[in-house]
Every structure is written in C-alpha cells, then in structure tokens.
C-alpha cells in the first residue's frame, strides 16, 4: 500500500487510492476513516447544509437558493411520479437521497486533488445492491409470491417459457451489476483519461497545448457525465421500483 502510493504518485491510478486518515475497528471490522470516508462526510454535509440554507426562509416567494432546492425536489418528485406513479411517492425520500448522494460524490470528484467516492466499484455496488434489495423487498411485500409473475411475462406461448423465464430471471439478477458497473466505469474512466491527457501536457513540451485543450473540453464533458450518471442511476432505480410497485412489465 505504502509502496504503491509512493510509486504511483504521478500515475493515473494514484487518485483512486484509499488512504487511512485514522485507523480503528468496530467489533473487529476495519472501520478506518479514509479519504473516501472524508468525502462522503463532506458530501452529506454539503447536501444537508445546502438544503438547510435553502429552506431557511421558507418564503412563499422563493429566494434563489430556495428555488434551486425546490427545483431539485420537483425534478426527483416528477421522476418518481412519472415512472412509478403516485403509489411510488412513498419511496421518494429514498430516491432523492440516492440521487443527491451520487450527484454530490460525482461532483466533488471533479475538484482537483479530491477523491471520487463513486469511482470505487465496492461503493457503487453497495448502492446498487441496496436498490436491488429494497426493490425486491417492496415487490414481495406488496404482491407476496405473486411478485414471481414478473419473470413470467403475459402473452408468451407456454413452450417459450423454459427460455423466457431464465432470461427474465437473469436480467433481473444482473441489475445490481449493470447498475454499479455503469456508474463506476464512467467515473473511473473519465478521471483516468483526464489524468492521462493532463500528463501528456507536460511530457509533450511545446506541443502540450493540444492535450491541454482536450483536457479542458473533456473536463466540461465530465461535469455532464457526473450529472448524467447520477440521473441514470436514479431513473433506473425508479424503473425497477415501478416493477415492484405496479408489476407492469
């Protein structure tokens, strides 16, 4: 770890390394406070702080900050309403938390020398697995064993069932993997590419302006990706929730 950090100090992978800022264990589990933990805490503090500040006045005619908070609220609320329906509004806080958390982590990662929490597969997988567990639990809680009908689409001839049911089952089970890999790969690839091209700026000397221009343009694109990936993660969560709440395939 220490040697890796020293050796890769200028490599494109250095930015993804976990550094323990304070080591401790809880019940024998390594719960050290790392740079990743630090940015998680900063992100959560920013979200809560922003919403607290925005809703401070709670005026009927919103201030600029309050408008942004209300815009975000309506954005996610509409997403849930459109994809899941009014019955899905019960899960709105969960979806909003998911969106704001991922967006904050993605955006914090855009600050130079910061750490991108969502560039670690274990974090994105944990989030995707949480979505998977929550959706499956809601599905069984609302429909009982009838939720299994999700894997038996209506209007399919019975002799196709041996083929269709395993496909449906696999596509359902693969959700946490596709969900987590999409976010992780996008965040990691973008940041790696930025770092690689930024390295070229120095090594190419006078011709370094070419990768510099690319890096500037790509940074803009990365902001879009940071938002888009948070959006996609949330929309997919809503679509999965729709399956569980309404069972419309």
């Amino acid at each position: 770890m220490a040697t890796g950090a020293a050796e890769g100090a200028h490599g494109p992978m250095h930015q993804f390394e976990i550094n323990r800022l304070a080591e401790f264990e809880i019940f024998g589990i390594d719960a050290s406070f790392t740079n990743s933990s630090l940015f998680m805490v900063i992100g959560v503090a920013l979200i809560v702080g922003f919403l607290a500040l925005a809703t401070n006045g709670r005026s009927l005619v919103p201030t600029r900050l309050q408008s942004v908070a209300e815009l975000a609220y309506e954005f996610i609320a509409n997403m849930v309403r459109e994809n899941v329906g009014t019955a899905g509004m019960k899960y709105f806080p969960f979806v909003f938390t998911l969106f704001s958390f991922i967006l904050a982590m993605n955006m914090l990662g855009m600050i130079p020398y910061s750490f991108t929490v969502t560039s670690h597969i274990i974090v994105t997988f944990a989030l995707a697995a949480l979505v998977f567990v929550v959706v499956t639990a809601i599905g069984f809680a609302r429909h009982g064993l009838g939720y299994l009908k999700l894997f038996v689409p209506e209007g399919v001839p019975f002799w196709l069932m041996p083929l269709i049911v395993p496909i449906e089952l696999i596509s359902y089970l693969i959700r946490p993997i596709s969900l987590s890999v999409r976010l992780f790969a996008n965040m990691m690839a973008g940041h790696t590419m930025l770092k690689v091209f930024a390295g070229f700026v120095v090594s190419l000397g006078i011709f370094g302006f070419a990768p510099l221009l690319f890096t500037i343009a790509f940074t803009g694109l990365e902001f879009v990706v940071a938002f888009l990936q948070a959006f996609i993660f949330t929309v997919l969560t809503c679509i999965y929730l729709n399956d569980a709440v309404n069972m419309h395939h």
Binding site: G11, A31, V117, R182
Partner: protein, 182 residues
C-alpha cells in the same frame, strides 16, 4: 460507454504493471468504505426524509394551497360579480317594462279623455245645430205664412183698384193658391 471501457482496461493494465493491482480491487479497503457508506448514506437518508424534504414539501404545498385559495377566491368574486350584474340587468329590464307600461297607460287614458271630450263637444254642437235649424224652419214657415197674407191683401187691393170690385179675402186666397200640378 465502449470507449470508456477501453480506456478503463488500458488504465487498469497500466496500474497493474505499476503497483500490482487496481486500487479499487484491494479487498482490505472494502470494509472501511462500506462502513462509512452505510453511516453517511444512512445519516443522509434519515436527515433528508425526516427534516429537509418535509420542509421543502411544506413550502411547496403551502404555496400550492395559497395559489389555490387565491384562485378560489377570485372565482367566488367573479361569480358574485356576475350574479350582481345579472340582478342589475333584471332590475333594469323590470324598470324599463314598468316605465313603458306607465307610458302606455297614460297614453290610453289621455286618448280616452280626449275622445270623451270630443264626443261631448260634438253632441253639444249637434244639439245647437239642430236647434238652430228648427228655429230657421219655424221662421221660414212663419215668413211664408205672412207672405200669403200679404199677397192676399195686396191681390185684393190691386183687384179693387183695377175693377173696383170688392174681393173677399177668401176669394183672393183661393185664387192665389197654387194650381195643382204646376
């Protein structure tokens, strides 16, 4: 997405060469990340669902209610205005009808009075005319009678002067009577 994966693979290979593995795939780093993800995500969910989101929802709800209330109030006032306008128009129509009724009544009454007056005056005039005509015919008859007397007297006198014979008044009258058929 595909391009990202290619870059990712290249970077992963490079990292593997440099430091012996992707930082993301170091299992000893998993548990601190998971622990802190659970703590931070759980805390965020708790705070947002219990405090931040209800605060925003409250404001939005209040604004929606306020707007709805204002719209309802405006609707109510509009209905009231329309009702008042309808009442006013009805009143106006009634007044107009009453006015025209009064006018017609007055006109009829006046016409009747005039007619009555005219009839009365006409009757008076007719009576006077009749009376006058009667008097005229009386006077005429009287005059005619006197004419006969004067003629008889005159005829008698003329006959006496001419032939010296005394003619009686009766004879003269008989002679002066118009011959039938003449």
């Amino acid at each position: 997405m595909l391009a990202s994966l290619v870059v990712l693979a290249a970077a992963a290979a490079e990292a593997a060469n440099q430091s012996g593995g992707l930082p993301q795939l170091n299992p000893s780093d998993f548990s601190p990340q998971l622990v802190w993800l659970a703590i931070t995500f759980g805390a965020l969910y708790f705070i947002l669902s219990r405090w931040s989101l209800p605060r925003i929802a409250e404001v939005i709800e209040e604004r929606r209610n306020r707007i709805q209330r204002d719209l309802d109030e405006a609707e109510r006032l509009k209905a009231e205005t329309e009702k008042a306008l309808a009442a006013y128009e009805q009143e106006l129509a009634a007044a107009r009808a009453r006015a025209s009724a009064i006018a017609r009544e007055t006109r009829e009454k006046l016409a009747a009075e005039v007619e009555e007056e005219r009839a009365r005056v006409e009757a008076q005039v007719n009576a006077k005319i009749a009376e006058a005509e009667k008097r005229i015919s009386e006077m005429k008859a009287r005059a005619l009678a006197q004419v006969n007397d004067i003629a008889t007297e005159t005829a008698g006198s003329i006959v006496e002067k001419l032939i010296g014979a005394q003619v009686s008044a009766d004879e003269a009258r008989r002679a002066l009577e118009p011959v039938p058929g003449e």
